[in-house]
């Protein structure tokens, strides 16, 4: 009960702090152009601001290319564009790099009301195969992990990192340092898995050992240990179920999952 009340209070305080911050920013007078335009219409019934134009050029891009938003607004006290662009001048342009098809909405406000206008940038996949090591800068954590971090495989009843897995883990470590730099609040789970042959109980221990050995290898290469969690699924979550070495070798793995 007490902790609930305390956290509610803390939340309220935090919110009011941010609210104050916002008001302050909005309160900063817009660039000179706007007041000049507002001045003549300043009397009596205030008209809503007018969006003269809001366009995007080109309206279809390949992922990674830029599109330019252009706009002009009259009679507004404040003008903003969503998708993280924030408050903007009454007339201007801005380059955007959406990774997927995105709609941008411009909002112009004064005492008389609000006018909005929306444009959409269609994003297509790049024609050429993008090199995997250079993800689009706007990828999210999960996308980057699945794109850049590869599973490693183990020998039967073994948890030491194989020669070929060392190379993979070294690449994984480099990529993880970049990814964690970009996403300071995310963690990665390393799942240890086994093939179907050992007993389920022993394999729980073996999968745990595989995940831990993988984590130890990555931390030795400088990946922060507190960003890595381990979990063993033993032989409970196989990626394939045939009784053949082809399938068994795929199941003896450390698998990386974004949290």
């Amino acid at each position: 009960m007490n902790t609930k009340r305390a956290s509610a209070l803390a939340l309220a305080l935090t919110l009011s702090f941010f609210a104050a911050g916002c008001r302050k920013k909005v309160g900063v007078p817009p660039p000179p152009a706007a007041p000049a335009a507002v001045a003549p219409a300043a009397k009596a019934p205030v008209k809503k601001p007018m969006v003269t134009f809001f366009t995007v050029e080109p309206s279809t891009i390949e992922r990674g290319q830029a599109a330019v938003l252009k706009w002009e607004v009259t009679g507004a006290q404040s003008v903003s564009i969503n998708q993280g662009l924030g408050t903007v001048t009454a007339a201007g342009n801005r380059s955007v790099f959406p990774s997927s098809t995105t709609s941008y909405t411009l909002t112009a406000t004064n005492e008389g009301g609000t006018s909005t206008e929306t444009v959409t940038v269609n994003v297509t996949a790049p024609a050429a195969v993008a090199p995997p090591a250079t993800p689009a800068p706007s990828d999210d954590f999960g996308a980057m992990v699945s794109k850049l971090i590869q599973d490693i495989y183990f020998d039967y009843d073994k948890s030491d990192v194989r020669e070929d897995s060392r190379a993979t883990l070294t690449k994984n470590a480099d990529a993880l340092k970049t990814i964690f730099g970009k996403f300071p609040n995310n963690t990665l789970t390393i799942e240890g898995h086994c093939d179907e042959r050992g007993s389920a109980e022993y394999n729980l221990g073996l999968g745990d050992r595989r995940a831990t050995a993988t984590k130890e290898f990555l931390t030795q290469l400088g990946v922060s240990a507190d960003r890595l969690r381990t979990i063993s699924y033993g032989k409970e979550r196989p990626s394939c179920t045939e009784s053949s070495e082809g399938c068994w070798s795929k199941n003896r793995r450390s698998h990386f999952v974004a949290q």
Partner: protein, 452 residues
């Protein structure tokens, strides 16, 4: 290390089965043969007739499964089946070919039936209840007056459950005459995926009454039950933080607090004989190692200290001292034994193949376990080992994977999981490998634990 010959083990099981109580009865049987029993189908009067098929099936199976009787061949039974002792009429001169006379004891004791005992009676409806009138006769006796071993009335509800109940009770009384503990009333807990995820289920020992026990909608596995049958421990993946130990009361069904030490894995818990402590495997050190704690997880003690994988600790239920466990300390997984303080570690299996799932018999003398000896990895067969001499016997031979044996409270039966029929199911058998019965069929079912 020699192998135990099968007859020796059976004799061992038989001598354990026939306690002092039944010794005089057994003593009368020539040449140490099993006594033969005939159990003709009982009839049901009134509404009891609707459930008499279930009754007959349950009674016959309870007696047959006990493994102490030779079942007299049903096709040889005489046509005139007695329903009450009064139905027997002693003929002036016994003529086996006279088919018009009333039933007589010799109809059952003489060839071709050649039985020693006859269970007979009938079920009826009385005050909307099921009533069973059950008799056991020693048909080798010359007179009805001296033949009766049991004559008793049993009551149950007028439905399938009631039919099973009275059948189990009658079977229990018959087996008691021979010093054999009936399995009726014993339960088997197991893991089933039939609800969509692996959960703990429970059934009667004969496979009837299958019910879901846990409802976590997650991965729940590796159950164990306290020796007094009041608590269930299992390994749970709820919470997403890796396998941890969860304990439930079997009396209330509720979860009981258990402190899991900080580790990526806490698993394969089992109870000490007095139920006051729990031993389990934890990766707190970086490797799955064995620990002992109080029943609530407190007062933690580390039992093993190696850089290898060690799981499935099981304490001797009789002495409370020796621990059987599975370890990879010498290479491939094998079964080891140590004292409760971690001293005197000995490998029990030969080092061949891979070994797992050690299970003490209730007497604390033998262990049942799974071994791939003689086969490639993953081809588990069931073995029983005399822990003192390390002599062993193989019970299954290459019929799929046979794993996770658990002993019945009578110390003479074993329940296992096997995929011999295609999918993994629960099977029960006599400890000599005979009387194999499939108990489950829906979904995948594994890791059975037989309890009182």
């Amino acid at each position: 290390m020699k192998k135990i010959t099968l007859p020796l083990l059976v004799a061992l099981a038989a001598s354990a089965a026939f306690g002092q109580q039944g010794a005089d009865i057994v003593g009368r049987i020539v040449g140490g043969q099993k006594a033969a029993i005939a159990i003709p189908d009982f009839r049901g009067a009134g509404k009891a007739a609707n459930f008499v098929a279930t009754f007959n099936q349950t009674l016959f199976r309870d007696i047959e499964d006990a493994g102490v009787f030779k079942m007299a061949p049903k096709s040889m039974y005489p046509l005139a089946i007695p329903q009450r002792p009064e139905d027997f009429r002693k003929p002036l001169k016994y003529d086996p070919n006279n088919r018009t006379r009333a039933p007589w004891l010799q109809d059952w004791s003489e060839p071709p039936v050649s039985s020693d005992f006859l269970a007979f009676g009938y079920t009826a409806e009385q005050d909307n209840q099921m009533v069973l009138f059950g008799w056991l006769f020693n048909v080798k006796q010359p007179e009805v007056s001296s033949a009766q071993v049991i004559g008793k009335i049993y009551h149950g509800t007028l439905d399938e459950d009631g039919a099973r109940k009275v059948a189990h009770e009658f079977a229990t009384d018959i087996l008691k005459q021979f010093g054999v503990e009936s399995l009726a009333g014993s339960k088997i807990y197991f893991v089933s995926n039939r609800s969509g995820s692996k959960e703990i289920w429970v059934m009667d020992y004969d496979g009837s009454n299958q019910k879901q026990f846990t409802f976590y909608k997650n991965l729940i596995t590796m159950p164990n039950v306290s020796p007094d049958g009041t608590r269930l421990a299992f390994t749970s993946f709820t919470g997403g933080a890796g396998p941890s130990i969860v304990i439930h009361s079997l009396e209330t069904g509720r979860k009981i607090p258990f402190y899991n030490q900080r580790a990526s894995m806490n698993a394969t818990a089992s109870f000490t004989p007095n139920g006051k402590q729990i031993i389990y495997s934890s990766s707190a050190s970086g490797w799955a190692q064995l620990y002992m704690a109080n029943a609530d997880g407190s007062n933690l003690q580390r039992l093993t200290n190696t850089r290898s994988i060690e799981v499935e600790p099981k304490i001797n239920p009789k002495t409370g001292n020796e621990i059987l466990f599975v370890s990879g300390r010498g290479g491939a997984q094998q079964v080891y034994k140590m004292n409760i303080d971690g001293a005197d570690v000995t490998r029990l299996t030969t080092g061949e193949g891979e070994a797992s799932n050690p299970a003490w018999n209730p007497q604390g003398s033998h262990m049942a376990f799974a071994w791939t000896r003689g086969y490639s990895p993953g081809n588990w067969n069931l073995f029983i080992m005399d822990v003192a001499t390390r002599d062993y016997v193989q019970l299954t031979q290459g019929a799929g994977r046979n794993e996770n044996p658990s002993w019945a409270p009578d110390g003479r039966h074993i329940v296992i999981s096997s995929n011999r029929g295609g999918s993994t199911q629960i099977w029960s058998m006599l400890a000599d490998g005979t009387q194999l019965r499939q108990l489950t069929s829906a979904g995948v079912n594994e890791k059975p634990v037989w309890t009182k």
